[in-house]
């Protein structure tokens, strides 16, 4: 069953003055429990897609369906079953890690939030930071707090924009392991972007290659490599970046 259905999604910034077409009819489906990756160079439209799917940006046209229902007609109801972690946004800087997580836990109506927050902090090895102000943390620590936030409500759909950016290899490995466990145990559906091709290869069931707002091909990492006759996802990415897919 497809949990996420995206049909002909288009986004034009500044439609009246100097229009920029960020998405030119993006379509894909994601099945329950699938880990789906979107690959593309900076500006390809990856974050724009994620932001529309998270209700942070209005699409110019197109359709997004979650659990078989239209997302745009009742965003709030779907957002309580989703979450996002991004390397490109912070939590409130002036307040502590625990206070931030408490606010978000209450926002999602998480029952027994204290226990949940403590378990998350402990799991990501940042229990000692609970009373630190968020703006005093390093980039890697902020990424881990963001990941804690994204898992507070046990999301059925999890969007991840560069989830392991700024993390040291051991923590990054732990994050990947967590995501795989989530998928195995809770059938969480994950949509992610990453510039780490090993991560993509290791985690994603299928990958969409996005270039200049269009998806050129969607397939498993292995099939994409054989289709392009390259030995690694690294090479797939390089071909994509050079536009060697363009028809």
């Amino acid at each position: 069953m497809n949990i996420v259905e995206v049909k002909n999604l288009r986004k034009i910034y500044r439609p009246r003055k100097n229009p920029v077409e960020a998405l030119r009819g993006v379509s894909f489906n994601i099945a329950k429990g699938e880990i789906f990756g979107i690959l593309g160079v900076n500006g390809a439209g990856k974050s724009t897609t994620l932001n529309i799917l998270m209700g942070l940006l209005t699409a110019t046209s197109g359709e997004v369906r979650f659990f078989g229902q239209d997302f745009f007609s009742n965003e709030s109801a779907f957002k309580s079953r989703m979450n996002i972690a991004t390397a490109y946004a912070d939590l409130a800087g002036n307040i502590t890690v625990y206070q931030n997580l408490k606010v978000f836990a209450l926002m999602y109506g998480v029952a027994n939030y204290r226990k949940k927050i403590e378990a998350m902090l402990d799991y990501f090895g940042i229990e000692h930071l609970r009373n630190e102000r968020f703006d005093g943390l390093s980039a890697g620590q902020k990424t881990r707090v963001n990941l804690c936030k994204s898992l507070l409500n046990d999301p059925e759909i999890l969007l991840l924009d560069e989830p392991t950016a700024s993390l040291d290899p051991s923590i990054a490995a732990r994050v990947r392991e967590t995501l795989l466990v989530l998928r195995r145990d809770k059938k969480t559906t994950i949509l992610m972007t990453s510039h780490n091709m090993n991560e993509v290869e290791q985690m994603c069931d299928r990958v969409a290659l996005l270039h200049q707002g269009r998806i050129y091909r969607t397939d498993t990492p292995k099939n994409l490599q054989s289709f392009l006759r390259v030995p690694s996802m690294e090479e797939v990415f390089i071909k994509l970046a050079r536009g060697e897919f363009e028809e």
């Binding site: 957002k79 946004a89 409130a92 926002m107």
Partner: protein, 263 residues
């Protein structure tokens, strides 16, 4: 459907902000105290000049009212700016929080902060200068209610400018209200203004409120029911306009992706 746990979470986020920020504490506690002390001492001096009785008290009452107008309207746009400054809007708006819940949360936190300001200013005015605003009757409560409605409306209009033009327009949060300061007749009658400005002032409910305040304190003249209805009608009109512009600007901000890159 409105969920109160989300409104509560939004309020909690701003209570934490007040606890953590010296600036926000100064807004609530320090600046109103400075205003009341400065103008309170001025009124003591004016009293000694043997002007018309009541002028000094009317000025003190006006300072209390203006402090409320300024603080309440500023709090509305600051609630957005605080999250924009800390790049938290992205995470905030990726939650199920709805616009109506955010508005209710903003109004609740603004109400709580303003109540603290009211208690401090009225307490100081009474303790230091023997001025009790409510000795002039409960019409003062009606005036305060309308100050809330109008100031919220003005705050929403200001916040909509921030949604539209981003943090580069953030100065409007504390300066736009000053545009109507001279024509609101805070310290002098509207008849002092040139006719065009006086005409413009007549569509501002706070101008009627300050006029009414002087009438009660200096001339012992109670406002007519018609005067009060005009104030209420104008306040509600501005409130509707403020909410309309705010929700429209919110949609525009989402269209442009401002919550993702709030610059």
């Amino acid at each position: 459907m409105i969920k109160f746990h989300r409104i509560g979470a939004y309020i909690l986020r701003h209570l934490y902000e007040i606890r953590a920020s010296l600036d926000r504490k100064a807004d609530i506690f320090l600046f109103p105290v400075i205003d009341i002390l400065t103008f309170g001492l001025l009124t003591v001096y004016i009293d000694k000049l043997e002007q018309r009785p009541g002028i000094a008290l009317a000025i003190l009452g006006a300072v209390i009212f203006w402090t409320l107008v300024y603080n309440i309207q500023r709090d509305i746009s600051f609630s957005i700016l605080e999250d924009a400054w800390s790049r938290n809007l992205y995470n905030l708006f990726s939650t199920p929080l709805r616009l109506v819940e955010m508005i209710l949360g903003t109004l609740a936190i603004s109400l709580a902060k303003a109540c603290v300001t009211i208690i401090i200013t009225l307490g100081l005015a009474w303790g230091l200068f023997q001025f009790n605003l409510f000795q002039f009757g409960w019409v003062m409560a009606f005036y305060i209610l309308n100050i809330f409605i109008f100031s919220w409306a003005f705050g929403f209009i200001t916040a909509s400018l921030i949604f539209r033009f981003g943090t580069k327009a953030q100065a409007v949060a504390w300066s736009l209200i000053l545009v109507i300061y001279p024509i609101s007749g805070v310290f002098y009658p509207l008849s002092t203004l040139p006719k065009t400005l006086a005409d413009f002032a007549s569509i501002l409910p706070i101008a009627h409120i300050f006029e009414g305040l002087r009438g009660i304190i200096i001339d012992a003249r109670s406002p007519s029911t018609g005067d009060l209805l005009i104030i209420l009608a104008l306040s509600l009109l501005y409130f509707s306009l403020g909410l309309f512009l705010y929700s429209r600007a919110f949609r525009g901000a989402k269209e442009r992706g401002w919550f993702i890159h709030p610059t």
